[in-house]
């Protein structure tokens, strides 16, 4: 057993982080907020060239030939940068929709929960989007439609969503800590006050617990592990962003601070693929199945 990412996996993560740092920094993020609904096609192609979409496609089919653990690390970075666009749908379409793997085709998809992200901005829509109704999306970076829920949730979609949530949660924790160090009140950094310190500490605890769950689920691919990862990662992202907002005080409530962007995206992702309720039910069933398997004695 060797849980840490390998050198290759770490290098992959660093590479994606560097690419996103260069091509999608804070300025780009804010620029994207100012032109809602429009994807940066050049960036999309760059992601394609870097193997973002073709990552799990076999080499024989022109892909990178890596697995779920690598995909999780890469999606974590996307979540950290708050990268917009139907990343997941396009990634899942690689090898099935021409041009998706290369980042030439932007793909949207109807997910099991009945939401469609980026319906109007995509070249191809997978699934039956008939009767889609636009929402006035709470997240300025994710246009949304809703359709009647249909289909079962795809575990890979759940896992990679959890990885994105993990990245966003990490970012929220980092922003909170940065602000807590810099902002002074009563003559010292607010991070010297235990109430603020403890908010930050709990945020990190949620992040690290979620990280262990997400990475493990990526390695085992087990549906119950994946469901657990999603619940922990949703919690880490949503609560992390809320606490980050609290740590920022009044500034946290403004459009100018990025905190709301983290929170809103985290909310959108909690609704994907059946939402947390479905995962809780799966994990409840798993308990009984495990008990039946082991014939555990009743006390």
């Amino acid at each position: 057993m060797r849980f840490r990412p390998t050198d290759d996996q770490r290098a992959l993560r660093e590479g994606v982080r560097a690419l996103l740092g260069r091509r999608f920094d804070r300025e780009a993020l804010r620029a994207a907020v100012d032109r809602p609904g429009r994807l940066d096609r050049a960036l999309w192609r760059e992601l394609g060239a870097a193997g973002f979409f073709a990552l799990r496609l076999p080499e024989a089919d022109g892909g990178v030939g890596l697995g779920l653990p690598e995909a999780a690390l890469v999606f974590e970075e996307a979540g950290r940068a708050l990268l917009p666009g139907p990343l997941l749908a396009t990634h899942l379409a690689a090898g099935e929709v021409p041009g998706a793997a290369e980042g030439e085709t932007v793909v949207a998809a109807v997910d099991g929960g009945g939401l469609v992200e980026w319906l109007a901005g995509a070249d191809v829509v997978r699934g039956d989007a008939a009767g889609a109704v636009p929402l006035d999306s709470v997240d300025p970076l994710t246009p949304l439609h809703t359709v009647p829920a249909r289909g079962a949730a795809d575990p890979v979609a759940i896992l990679l969503t959890a990885a994105e949530q993990l990245g966003t949660a990490t970012r929220a924790c980092e922003l909170a800590v940065q602000h807590a160090r810099a902002r002074e009140q009563f003559g010292r950094p607010v991070g010297a006050f235990q109430a603020i310190k403890h908010l930050c500490a709990e945020a990190l605890v949620r992040v690290e617990t979620a990280r262990a769950a997400v990475y493990a689920a990526a390695v085992t691919g087990d549906p119950a592990d994946i469901a657990a990862a999603r619940l922990l990662a949703d919690e880490a992202a949503v609560r992390g962003a809320r606490d980050c907002l609290q740590v920022h005080g009044g500034m946290g409530f403004t459009w100018e601070a990025d905190v709301h962007l983290l929170l809103k995206r985290a909310w959108v992702r909690t609704r994907r693929a059946g939402g947390g309720t479905e995962s809780e039910e799966l994990l409840a069933r798993d308990l009984l199945a495990a008990t039946d398997r082991q014939g555990a004695c009743l006390r």
Binding site: M1, V177, Y215, L283
Partner: protein, 378 residues
């Protein structure tokens, strides 16, 4: 990232599983929770059984795979818990292994492994709990002995311990973190008085220990004189980092039993209860993964000594354990008020988890200051 067993690990697992299946049915019945001499004998007997089978030092092994497999398999099979061996095996022993001299290791480690000697932890004092460095128990040199006077409190298993890992103040004039020394003290030395304290569960889990001019050989000092705080940090990192990991598996078993019980009682149709148990399943799965992560990290980065990641684990685990037994109370209904049910006792004892081994408030300070780098001061 690889969570599968290596061929050697897989072989270890298979052999252990087979051995457990053969050995557990022959164990004597468990003593009652309040019978401490009985528990000592039982727990040491189990350790001796492990020793004879070659499993005694498994907690001290370099291979994280083997340690985790041992915890997983013994818990899954319902094997006895370390119990009275907790301090010796999980923090005093590892501290002596890391910080003691060759002579000290040879003196103290084999009896722990063979299940012959029980250790307790004499750190806390009435005036020094969270603020452990405020401890006042004094020790002064008299030839080749330290003479120790003062008192300790909340000392778990003190009644049945042979040895105590004891923190004393050897330089009262030094800054408070600098005048402390780590000693091994015999519990039957003249001048040691143990007065059991009753816990809220009605049991005598821990005790007050009074020390009246107790003579401790200088050779029982681990680390240098006045360097005890550093040694203490090693002890605490073992205590928080790895000492609780086996319990996570136990909690997962209890959770499965809760679900089975809810189904038997016709409560499974209640979606709120189901979802609550499902969420706890996520929690304990994640805690097990966090354990694997921490052990793997400690191995790779720190030669086996756990890092502050232990505080992250301890914060989350202590809360999750309380949530688990609150859920158990919901499943039990009126029976949740009956001390005769083991889950009710476990629920009471779970209340100590956010206090013992450093309170949650203190762990949050540690995480904030030592991991996140936030400024000191409150």
């Amino acid at each position: 990232m690889d969570l599968s067993d290596s061929p050697e690990d897989a072989e270890f697992r298979a052999r252990l599983r087979e051995w457990l299946a053969k050995t557990l049915p022959a164990l004597p019945p468990k003593p009652s929770p309040d019978d401490w001499p009985g528990r000592r004998a039982y727990d040491l007997g189990w350790q001796r059984t492990l020793y004879d089978a070659g499993y005694a030092d498994v907690h001290w092994q370099a291979s994280p795979g083997v340690r985790l497999i041992f915890l997983e398999e013994t818990e899954r099979a319902g094997a006895p818990y370390v119990g009275a061996g907790f301090v010796g095996l999980l923090h005093a022993g590892p501290t002596i292994a890391a910080e003691g001299t060759a002579e000290q290791r040879a003196r103290w480690l084999p009896p722990v492994l063979r299940g012959e000697e029980v250790w307790c932890q004499g750190f806390s004092e009435p005036g020094a709990g969270s603020d452990l460095a405020a401890l006042r128990t004094r020790a002064w040199r008299d030839g080749d002995h330290y003479v120790v006077s003062g008192s300790k409190i909340w000392t778990s298993h003190a009644e049945v311990a042979d040895w105590c890992e004891l923190l004393v103040r050897t330089d009262p004039r030094a800054p408070k973190h600098e005048g402390i020394t780590w000693l091994a003290m015999r519990m039957d030395a003249p001048g040691v008085t143990v007065r059991p304290l009753r816990t809220l569960a009605g049991s005598t889990e821990f005790a007050e220990v009074f020390l009246d001019e107790v003579r401790v050989p200088v050779g029982n000092r681990v680390g240098a004189e006045n360097d005890g705080w550093r040694v203490t940090m090693v002890t605490l990192s073992f205590e928080r980092g790895t000492a609780f990991v086996g319990e996570v598996v136990a909690c997962r078993r209890v959770l499965g039993e809760l679900a089975a019980r809810a189904r038997r009682d016709g409560r499974w149709g209640d979606p709120a209860l189901r979802r609550r148990l499902g969420r706890l399943n996520a929690e304990f799965r994640a805690l097990w993964r966090l354990t694997q992560w921490n052990v793997s990290e400690a191995q790779a980065a720190r030669g086996g000594v756990p890092g502050v990641g232990g505080s992250v684990f301890k914060l989350r685990y202590s809360q999750a354990r309380q949530d688990l037994y609150d859920a158990a109370a919901e499943v039990l209904g009126d029976t949740a008020l009956d001390l005769g049910h083991p889950w009710v006792r476990d629920r009471l004892s779970s209340l100590s988890y956010t206090i013992a081994a450093g309170t949650s408030q203190i762990q949050r300070d540690i995480v904030a200051e030592r991991i996140l780098g936030l400024p000191k001061g409150r």
